[in-house]
Symmetry: C2
Subunit: 420 residues, 2 copies
């Protein structure tokens, strides 16, 4: 039914379910006989005319893609300037779109990517080249505006809550004669959504995590140490979740604050070890720390089923919106009921999503600053519900697909990205 092709690109830090969105985009497009090209490494590939022909992938590979973490076509950290500031780059994009008959562009990413998608959505008007540009939400940071939540977040939330629950059982076992304080660092430089998710493990008052350190709450060292001490003295151990974005009242990140331990060593690396060393030096407790880093956002083996369903739904909707002639929009998740949890997909203007960062509401953080409220739990819990494990091979490891990623023959002169 359609003319032209669809170009799909992944952008920003990847998640364990962004490929589920890619899979849904390709499957939905195939149902509409719409050919899908993918840009290798996000917008960089679009500029370089480095395109992938997804029609070379089998149906089973595209189904397996929905269960594979990472970004199958490559992602990038690259922000387009405004049309006014870099008209030449947009002209190049249109050259590429025209050369390959691209009439639909889907950009799958977070805040910066919504901004890029929004800029590209304006080129029809500015350059007279007709392309329907749809932003597709994705980010473990859960900080996109308008949408109730972001595909990718539910799975990292499930991983974080499960991991701290499991590790806490380890610490409880050892507290009598070994580790008394365990610190786990989680992602989220500006918003504490992932740190908050750790709080889901706290099913009862004295359960772990006993302390959450949010980027929204300036670090109060004395108050923190007092709480650790009181917790250890009451129940024998203390589990702490700390956001990588934890900072002092003056805005300096705790992990980059240049603080020194009792040996005069300057602290390097993550805030997790920094906080754990602080506990050891000031309170003398034996401690352990963990920094799961990329493990948390690639743990497809522990994906949330709800999250996978969101990721698939936004991919399907993006294709439908594009084919229906929409431009400059993003399919977003709207929660219609908490109990039972119900949601639907809606179309939202990219202008309302781009460059707005959704912080944690104040009423999601407990008054003492160290935990989540019931309102936060009500919001978060549905997002980690359900399991959607990948198939495992006879070798005991998940069966993740590697696509062929067959390049499309180039038609244009080579292009160098000036300000990459």
């Amino acid at each position: 039914m359609s003319t032209g092709k669809l170009l799909y690109a992944q952008s920003g830090g990847v998640t364990s379910v962004i490929n589920a969105t890619a899979s849904a985009v390709i499957e939905t497009a195939r149902q509409h006989k719409l050919k899908v090209l993918a840009a290798r490494n996000g917008i960089i590939g679009a500029l370089r005319e480095d395109l992938i022909d997804t029609s070379k992938e089998s149906s089973s590979a595209i189904r397996a893609l929905a269960q594979t973490p990472g970004g199958a076509f490559g992602s990038c950290r690259f922000k387009l300037k405004s049309i006014e500031d870099n008209r030449e780059q947009y002209a190049r994009l249109i050259d590429v779109f025209r050369a390959h008959d691209i009439r639909y562009f889907l950009y799958n990413g977070g805040n910066d990517s919504a901004d890029t998608a929004h800029k590209i959505s304006q080129i029809s008007r500015a350059f007279g080249y007709p392309v329907n540009c749809i932003g597709v939400p994705k980010t473990v940071d859960n900080d996109l505006a308008v949408t109730d939540c972001c595909p990718g977040f539910g799975s990292v939330a499930k991983y974080t809550a499960t991991s701290i629950l499991e590790a806490s059982l380890d610490v409880i076992s050892m507290k009598e004669s070994s580790t008394k304080v365990f610190v786990m660092e989680v992602m989220g430089r500006h918003a504490g959504w992932i740190a908050a998710a750790a709080g889901l493990a706290q099913r009862s008052e004295d359960a772990a995590p006993h302390i959450i350190l949010f980027p929204e709450v300036p670090f109060d060292e004395a108050k923190f140490l007092a709480k650790v001490k009181a917790t250890v003295e009451r129940i024998g151990y203390c589990v702490v979740a700390v956001s990588e974005g934890l900072h002092h009242a003056d805005g300096r990140f705790v992990a980059e604050a240049g603080g020194k331990d009792s040996f005069g060593h300057v602290q390097l690396g993550g805030v997790g070890p920094t906080i754990a060393n602080l506990v050891k030096d000031q309170l003398g407790y034996k401690m352990h720390w963990a920094v799961p880093d990329y493990l948390q956002r690639s743990a497809r083996h522990l994906a949330s089923k709800t999250d996978v369903e969101h990721a698939l739904a936004v991919g399907r909707a993006a294709v439908e919106y594009a084919l229906a002639g929409q431009n400059a929009v993003m399919p977003v998740i709207k929660r219609t009921s908490n109990a039972p949890y119900r949601w639907k997909i809606e179309s939202a203007p990219l202008s309302k999503v781009a460059n707005h960062e959704k912080k944690m509401p104040k009423n999601f953080i407990r008054k003492d600053g160290f935990g989540i409220t019931a309102a936060c739990r009500t919001y978060l819990e549905p997002l980690i519900r359900g399991e959607a494990p990948p198939p495992f091979g006879k070798d005991g490891l998940p069966l993740y697909v590697t696509l062929k990623n067959t390049p499309v023959a180039k038609k244009l002169p080579e292009y160098r990205i000036a300000d990459k």
Copy 2:
């Protein structure tokens, strides 16, 4: 049929399946109408007469125990001295055993625990108190002698290989414009079994991990950096697994070596960030690092089915051996076939297990020192086969059981452990 009670205790760092062994011990004993007490916090609880009455736990709780990580009765790091050096502690143990009619003692742990179990097994002869003492194997370090593998290791191996596989898909996605080198630190201070397990993720020549740094191979910084550089130049990224026990040729641990980064900062904390910072400083590549720490040994959600079966089998066998009148033995796993993988449980003398550390065979490490051999893969792969996920609750988290741990009324005067 039996007279007397069985005392079960957990020892050393816990694993994601040590409670499966506990569950099998209790279920098997119940089938024999044998009452099981558990020592709270391992041998410390036995000395303090801090005992738990497991008969207060429901059958469903004991079944759920098999799917719960950590050590449900508490573990400890505490090594008994020899009978000659601390006769008084053994006399106290016998007082406790006698007061509670304990005729069977099962000690579930690693190397140090096998030593403790072996010492206790000698008290029948030394003190004339009849008790059958059985060591039960458990350790993520996989370094117990005689047994083909150790319950607890297969699951941490599966977690490690899966995690590095998943994280590598993340790095591949971002390599064009972001992270090029990823370093994951794994446990294993003296033996590189867990580091070796990371190598299972390398299903093809260029797959991650590209470099494994073993405690068995002294760290050669120049050779390592050259390999990282060559890998990034060939395929665009490099994934490294490093054992916490990595050391220099002179025996100093790399993480404790007091090395300085390019800013003159003394390195603190784990070897993972140390190695990652080295790459950044010397080669200039953007890097990320992860230290899963306790997450790796408590990840029951990703347990190996083979490992769970081993853990159950040694628990069952330990009770049978005890009731059959065996003393000073340990049920060990004997591999009878690689393809298909077959194994059985055998009885081994504790004297052969205690204080012998099983290192990686030389032919398991590749000649260049950076990877595993086919022989190593043949050994490791069956140990991570199969999945055994716990049930998950409606809240999206695993349903782990918390036992009642009802104390047994004390009959003896309070006891202070002198040299704890």
